[in-house]
């Protein structure tokens, strides 16, 4: 039956063996609460310094136990991706699964080793608790279940992007960044925790969470529709944007931010241009308002405004001085970074909405501003910053000295330029990098080897150029010397032969303003038969004409505009780089603002009439 011999009742004395139980002491476990184990899942702790209020914990909580509470007084900075929201936990619903801890991008929330919740109302009168770093009863308990490498659920690594190797890209203008394929894009899009920090940081408030989600759901048309809600220049911004969204991305606090810019590019490239036009035209009213608006400059700002106004039924006429549209995005950014055919797609979509662009027309020469004022209900000037500044140091007027903006325009326009054997670039911004790498390519193509020296006033950390631009420039053989101040252009038998520079002790004064100080005895001569100045750009406002310049209000060298980008003249608006300084996505944001203000002005005038 079984090996338990239950019939063995033992002898008469059998019960005596139970006497040994008297020897044992009773099993007594101390009743007061003991500290829980090292990774116990007790009540929440939240380090408010580390927490950025991204509300990912609220999303992953399966019992909807977390409410985000706005706490005034906490730091709030959309550009860095910091909100003054903190999670409050409803312990009537929480099941202590610690998924919020494992998915917290900054690792600020953790569970303490405190599990006793019997307390009187005085210390805690509700299940709804706002955890901070000193625990539920204000008694500091050390951390229990906290973020650990193994349990971290945040997808920290970014899907790496295939880029052309330096040797492969040095002698041509093919696009370097290959762009994601479908699989890579879906994996990259799946990393997004939908916190919306990018939406707040983007100058034009792009709905990045929505289009990233659409990409992940492989619904490309929805992604394009979400993008076109705020940015008709998405092919361009997908390649050259200064991507402030990625600096604000909450995954970026401990890992690599989501490649939001490249995802936008993937979405735009994935949908056929014809279909993009139909999507962009959605919501365009059938009627025409009969209002006519003139826009000077077919750059991002001008064309975005044109796009919005056309979608509101107005008739838009754009005047462009050059032979093609795009402004700085075509003539300022080389094709290896911003291919022309992609820019044309953006422009064609805008034109498909009925925006007429008149090329090779220079306002101030072919048409005067006052003529525009009579013929149109409103005028928007968005001419950007096209004149390159010169250092005007000794010898700067020699013809061996060029301006980066003009050179880049000529290369983009296909005009042949003199390819120097050796060149020296002055300037540390993206334009300097662009011209350095363009000349490097031309040199490699013509002479087979690259000889470019790039000097700038600032030290390398304060270069205005993107970090990857600097990295790629160095890979392509550009020698970068930081903190060098240009002194004099060395002239030999009529032509430039080098640049003399002094060491800069770059000191910032207490207000953070940059006051370059030279150390004269550390002097270098950089050989080069061409010197290119890429130090800054100014707006060419000659087109306004003397009378209008006098009539308008100015603000430290730029047109004074209200927040609707309207100048002091009620019929004239101004937008883009010439008002805000050089940045593509800010120009797009300006385009929207100007269009909204113009549209509002036209409606008010209509009601008033």
């Amino acid at each position: 039956m079984s090996d338990i011999d239950y019939k063995d009742h033992g002898g008469v004395l059998a019960p005596l063996k139970n006497l040994r139980f008297f020897g044992r002491n009773a099993v007594t476990v101390p009743l007061d609460p003991r500290t829980a184990s090292a990774n116990y899942r007790g009540f929440h702790l939240n380090d408010w310094q580390a927490c950025v209020g991204c509300s990912t914990c609220q999303k992953v909580c399966d019992n909807a136990a977390i409410t985000m509470v706005e706490i005034p007084g906490l730091p709030e900075d959309p550009v860095k991706g910091v909100r003054n929201l903190r999670p409050a936990i409803d312990y009537g619903r929480c099941c202590w699964c610690a998924l919020c801890v494992d998915l917290c991008p900054t690792g600020s929330i953790s569970l303490s080793r405190e599990y006793v919740h019997t307390c009187v109302d005085a210390d805690l009168d509700s299940y709804f608790v706002l955890p901070d770093s000193n625990g539920i009863h204000g008694v500091a308990y050390d951390k229990g279940w906290a973020k650990s490498v193994e349990s971290d659920l945040v997808a920290l690594e970014r899907t790496d992007m295939t880029e052309a190797a330096p040797e492969a890209r040095i002698d041509n203008f093919e696009e370097i960044v290959a762009g994601y394929d479908k699989n890579q894009a879906i994996i990259e899009a799946s990393r997004c925790v939908q916190c919306g920090m990018c939406h707040d940081a983007c100058p034009t408030r792009m709905n990045a969470p929505e289009y990233i989600r659409a990409i992940w759901q492989d619904d490309m048309e929805e992604a394009v529709r979400q993008i076109y809600r705020t940015n008709p220049f998405a092919h361009t911004c997908g390649r050259v944007c200064t991507h402030r969204c990625e600096t604000a991305c909450s995954v970026g606090h401990r890992g690599e931010p989501i490649a939001i810019r490249w995802l936008k590019r993937y979405a735009m490239d994935a949908v056929a241009p014809e279909r993009v036009k139909q999507i962009a035209a959605e919501g365009k009213p059938g009627y025409v308002t009969g209002k006519r608006i003139a826009i000077i400059g077919a750059g991002p700002a001008g064309l975005t405004a044109a796009f919005d106004l056309a979608k509101q039924g107005h008739e838009v006429q754009v005047y462009e001085a050059m032979s093609q549209a795009g402004g700085m995005t075509r003539y300022g950014i080389p094709y290896y970074r911003m291919p022309a055919d992609m820019l044309d797609r953006d422009v064609e979509v805008i034109q498909s909405l009925g925006v007429k662009i008149q090329y090779n027309t220079r306002i101030g020469v072919d048409l005067r501003m006052d003529e525009l004022q009579q013929q149109f209900d409103a005028v928007l000037i968005a001419v950007g910053l096209w004149t390159g500044r010169s250092t005007r140091i000794q010898g700067a007027d020699n013809d061996g000295v060029e301006r980066a903006v003009e050179l880049l325009r000529k290369v983009a326009d296909g005009e042949p330029i003199r390819v120097p054997r050796q060149a020296v670039i002055i300037g540390g911004g993206n334009v300097a990098m662009d011209i350095a790498r363009t000349l490097a390519r031309l040199q490699k193509h013509r002479y087979g080897e690259v000889a470019i020296t790039l000097t700038a006033l600032e030290d390398i950390d304060h270069f205005l150029a993107d970090r990857d631009e600097i990295k790629e420039a160095r890979e392509e053989g550009v020698e970068i010397l930081d903190a060098r101040g240009p002194q004099q252009v060395v002239i030999e038998n009529g032509g430039a032969s080098g640049l003399c520079t002094w060491k800069v002790l770059s000191i910032f004064d207490e207000k953070g303003r940059f006051a370059p100080k030279y150390n004269a005895d550390d002097q270098l001569i950089h050989p080069g038969d061409m010197i290119v100045e890429a130090i800054g750009q100014a707006a060419d406002i000659a087109l306004l004409g003397e009378a209008l310049t006098e009539e308008l209000e100015w603000n430290r060298g730029r047109l004074k505009v209200d927040d609707g980008l309207r100048t002091s003249a009620d019929w004239l608006w101004a937008a883009g780089d010439m008002v805000r300084g050089p940045d593509v996505v800010t120009a797009v944001a300006d385009g929207h603002k100007a269009a909204a203000s113009i549209n509002q002005f036209l409606c008010i005038r209509e009601q008033a009439a």
């Binding site: 300022g332 910053l385 500044r389 010169s390 250092t391 005007r392 140091i393 000794q394 300037g427 540390g428 911004g429 993206n430 334009v431 300097a432 006033l457 205005l464 101040g485 240009p486 002194q487 004099q488 002094w502 004064d509 303003r513 940059f514 006051a515 370059p516 100080k517 030279y518 004269a520 890429a534 130090i535 800054g536 750009q537 100014a538 406002i541 003397e546 310049t549 006098e550 308008l552 100015w554 603000n555 430290r556 060298g557 730029r558 047109l559 300084g581 050089p582 940045d583």
Partner: protein, 167 residues
């Protein structure tokens, strides 16, 4: 700096009383301020603020020197200032100071202003070196120091206007 003014510097060399030296210095500031104020209408409006700012700067200098001259303890006041000499950044030295033609642009005006400051500073400095130690030498050193400070201010403005516009 036009020639006329450099001769007046020789006049200053021979002076002994602090008050007289200050008066001459104040007159230089006054002429600079008047030069900028009448420049204001001439320049194009989009950078007229620059001319106005320079005029205001010179006015500030003018007031500084006038109420300094009104005080009687000029020597002690100057003493305090000299302890913190401002090193000359030489940032503007390389930049040729053009003669302001009919349509100067903002960069030209700034270059011209920095050129004036530089000349004034170097004049005062040479004057300070040329006199024996005493209140007059301290005054010249003080004036040189003020001009150097002023020049540094303009250099910052020059950097922000010309150099910082890059993408």
């Amino acid at each position: 700096m036009k020639e006329g003014e450099s001769s007046s510097y020789d006049k200053i060399r021979s002076m002994t009383r602090l008050k007289d030296v200050l008066e001459v210095a104040t007159s230089f500031e006054q002429s600079a301020r008047d030069f900028y104020t009448d420049l204001i209408p001439k320049v194009s409006k989009n950078f007229r603020w620059l001319a106005e700012a320079l005029a205001k700067e010179e006015q500030g200098h003018y007031d500084l020197f006038t109420n300094l001259s009104r005080r009687d303890d000029i020597a002690e006041a100057i003493q305090a200032e000299i302890e913190r000499p401002v090193t000359d950044g030489q940032f503007a030295d390389a930049i040729m100071s053009p003669d302001l033609g009919p349509h100067p642009d903002d960069q030209a005006v700034l270059q011209y202003a920095m050129g004036r400051e530089h000349l004034a500073m170097s004049h005062y400095r040479s004057l300070a070196d040329g006199t024996e130690p005493g209140p007059i030498k301290d005054l010249f050193a003080y004036l040189a120091n003020e001009e150097a400070k002023h020049k540094e201010e303009l250099e910052k403005l020059y950097y922000e206007t010309v150099h910082a516009g890059g993408v």
